[in-house]
Symmetry: C2
Subunit: 126 residues, 2 copies
DNA sequence: TCTATTGTGCTAGTTCACTAGAACAATCTG
DNA sequence: CAGATTGTTCTAGTGAACTAGCACAATAGA
């Protein structure tokens, strides 16, 4: 089961945050086809956002073919994301964790790491 | 000089994107105290956002003590971010680039990498 | 069949990001 | 000094995100 946490004040609309968390969970293998997403009312209760906002997020995921809403029973994962096999992910995760540890011991804060990652991903232009 | 690029449709407000890019440039050493930010009118011309929006971004940076606006001459960097020395950054960047190359050759897309980084940074909690 | 649970639809209203356009004020440059 | 350049302020308006509250529809389970 996935637990949503919506950060108001992050600037990003709540419905986008929800959709993003689902996609992320799909990429990391936390969610797989057949799994059920939290109930709309559940999300309302835990995250404090409005039912319409949750519905908007779920509807976009459905349009993307990632989930399927079944009235009366819930919303279920039907599609998948992530272009790598979950087994291939583990060694990469381990190496990354080692790098992060090294970066942190060099004094980098998470924001520094974030900036560095974005720089490298974007081709390190400049 | 920093070049801004505002992505409408990303959901994130333009003024936040601008501020974020400045902070990122500060962390990566692209911007240093004394440097001048692009003119408000410059940003308007290149990014298409309204002058008030740019001003809002600059004003927040000024409130954070990172820049100083001097009427008639421009907006200048006064503070610094980034907790690591720029020299320490290079080896880390190289190692990260190697890891990214490996991840990509394993079939990971940038979004997968992003999700993995966020997972590791957040402690890998589930 | 009855009841709880789930997704869905609707209307009305508020807040905030953003636009548009104009004018003013301080500083630099020649 | 004169003109260009810069940041700054103001008003008015639009649209999207979000809230609030309620009613309805379909499914699951006792």
């Amino acid at each position: 089961m996935v637990e949503f946490h919506v950060d108001r004040g992050s600037g990003l609309p709540a419905y986008l945050q929800l959709g993003r968390q689902v996609r992320e969970a799909l990429r990391l293998g936390w969610l797989q086809p057949g799994d059920r997403l939290p109930t709309v009312r559940d999300v309302v209760a835990t995250s404090g956002v409005n039912a319409n906002t949750v519905l908007k997020a779920y509807r976009e995921l459905e349009l993307a073919g990632l989930v399927e809403a079944r009235q009366g029973s819930g919303t279920f994962v039907t599609g998948s994301l992530g272009s790598a096999a979950p087994e291939d992910l583990d060694p990469l995760r381990a190496k990354l964790a080692a790098w992060v540890a090294e970066a942190r011991s060099a004094g980098l804060e998470d924001e520094d790491i974030d900036a560095l990652v974005r720089e490298v991903l974007s081709g390190g232009a400049r």
